[in-house]
């Protein structure tokens, strides 16, 4: 296990370096730099050049890159062009709401997809199966912002059950238990949007994974020795079909992150995705690039976890 982990971490490190090339390359390709944003137009050119030298902006690109890497490694992600605040603190303040949104959506997506995927695989080619498969096709074909708008229309504007947007009702000034309930209430529609899209994507894969296992010899053996259909499904087929599903879950993380951009924007959720959109509009590259790097790091971490989990769950997998 340990050699595998070391090897996998090394691979991750290589990708991370390449990711930083891409990130730095894009920032370097973007027109304008920190100088042009902060400076007063009345400063004489000579002083500008001096400042440029002091900041190292006149150095060759690889020198600038190495300096950038050193700073990033020390936790300094630069300063926001827009607000002048340190990027790390700025982005950090938006992480809580994003993780709350994504974590909840992720957990519910898994539960829903596993449940529906197993149920349809247990009774393939029935009304339930066709219904779920059709709904899954519909789910992957609707843009998430349209789902969000339809949900707001139905549940906020028509029925008035949930708030149209926001993280909490600031005006009400709730605290303690009431604040928790209030936030939960605000969470319902954004999470539903993400779950509908995510589960639609996942459920078809769960179904075909379980269906594959149902055709295996050990399932026939289990049935022939009198194990009930429910136990065959849950204890044998589902457990074994979790293997391909684990990989898929790792892969679905980038999609969830991308989905958070749209959902946070529609619901005015104060998270990282919405900050990315704001930064992009304000051409605040340090913040936008930090969010890109963070997204990439999360995706890498997700795929690493999926691989480790895979090795833990499947005793046949021996990495060496």
């Amino acid at each position: 296990m340990l050699p595998f982990l070391v090897n996998r971490l090394a691979q991750g490190a290589v990708i991370l370096v390449l990711v930083s090339f891409v990130a730095f390359g894009i920032t370097a390709a973007a027109p304008g730099n920190a100088m042009q944003t902060f400076i007063d137009p009345n400063i004489p050119p000579a002083e500008l050049r001096a400042a440029q030298e002091r900041l190292g902006l006149d150095r060759p690109i690889h020198v600038q890159y190495l300096r950038w890497v050193r700073e990033v490694a020390q936790g300094n992600l630069g300063y926001s062009f827009r607000t002048g605040r340190p990027v790390a603190a700025f982005v950090g303040s938006r992480l809580g709401p994003t993780f709350l949104l994504m974590g909840t959506a992720f957990a519910l997506t898994l539960v829903l997809a596993l449940w529906l995927g197993t149920a349809t695989a247990a009774r393939p080619y029935t009304v339930l199966d066709y219904g779920v498969t059709g709904a899954a096709f519909a789910g992957i074909s609707v843009p998430s912002f349209f789902t969000a708008m339809a949900l707001v229309y139905l549940f906020s504007l028509r029925l008035g059950w949930f708030p149209t947007s926001g993280f909490e009702d600031y005006a009400a000034g709730h605290a303690g238990w009431r604040l928790f309930v209030d936030r939960l209430w605000h969470l319902v529609l954004p999470v539903t949007t993400l779950v509908l899209t995510g589960a639609a994507e996942l459920v078809r894969h769960v179904r075909s994974a379980v269906l594959d296992e149902m055709r295996q010899d050990y399932v026939r053996t289990a049935r022939s020795k009198g194990v009930g259909e429910g136990a065959v499904l849950r204890r044998h087929a589902l457990r074994n079909s979790l293997l391909p599903v684990i990989t898929l879950v790792g892969v679905s993380l980038p999609r969830l992150l991308a989905g958070s951009v749209i959902v946070e924007t529609v619901f005015a959720w104060p998270g990282m995705g919405r900050l990315l959109v704001e930064s992009v509009f304000a051409r605040d590259y340090p913040v936008a690039m930090a969010i890109n790097m963070l997204g990439a790091a999360l995706v890498l971490l997700g795929s690493l976890l999926a691989d480790v989990l895979y090795a833990v769950v499947d005793p046949r997998v021996r990495y060496s």
Partner: protein
Amino acid sequence: MTAAVASAAGAERRGRAWRRFGRHKPGVVGAVVLVLLAATAVLAPWLAPYDPYDLAMGPNGEIAFAAPPSPAFRMGTDSVGRDVLSRLLFAGRVSLTIGLVAATVAMTLGGALGLIAGHYGGTVDRVVSRFADAVSTFPALFLILTVSSFVAPSIVNVIVIIGFLSWMPAFRLMRAEVLKLRSTDFVEAAGAVGAGDVRVMRRHLLPNAVGPIVVQATLGVAEAILTESALSFLGLGVQPPVASWGNMLADARSITVLQSQPWLWLPPGVAIFVTVLSINFLGDALRDAINPRAGR
């Protein structure tokens, strides 16, 4: 003689594939819907009752702002008095074109890189593969959004951005296919009789890898249409006054419109949904037709 036998076998294989396709009912319906959508897009200038970019004046000289559907304006009008149906038709042209061209760019780029990486192997393969890994580590929309922040938002740039940042699945698929084919007898034989790299890639590898690539390309179009709509919805894609389904929905983001003017936000949303759903069904049917054992 052998050529005749081979082509007869090929014809029969194609015949079977067509029959399998025909049995996939959603796929057939999807294909028909797509043909109709393409026709409305091509014929938009003749089908649209009004100028999509200008104040629409009905047959009796009536002008209406944010008015519900009526005999003169069958899908209603928007807040500046433009005809929604005309805008929807013209938006379809933009959205479908971007989807098709961006997916073609991505497929060509990914396919070519996959062919080269798979065929040459070694360092070339390692470098391109790791680069593909790095680019696909970013959540796709993150990079696309970031790049659109400093590129002038035009239709061409939207196509370029989406195309150049979504070639990775096509690359992986093509590379895997080539690796499978590379050790087959006919490819080795071609190399042995002196066919050059380009000839082997063009005549032997590419034609045999085309099936899965076609399926991937179909789904790529759906993906590209969704990405364009998201980008335009956020205001970073197709810019008004040019209409795309995504930016028509962006115009409808206010609570007032959402609550009381559904004719402004339902049609573009439904249009995207129907288009993407049809493409997904078509892709599924193609997958069944080309490789009956995959999936299900």
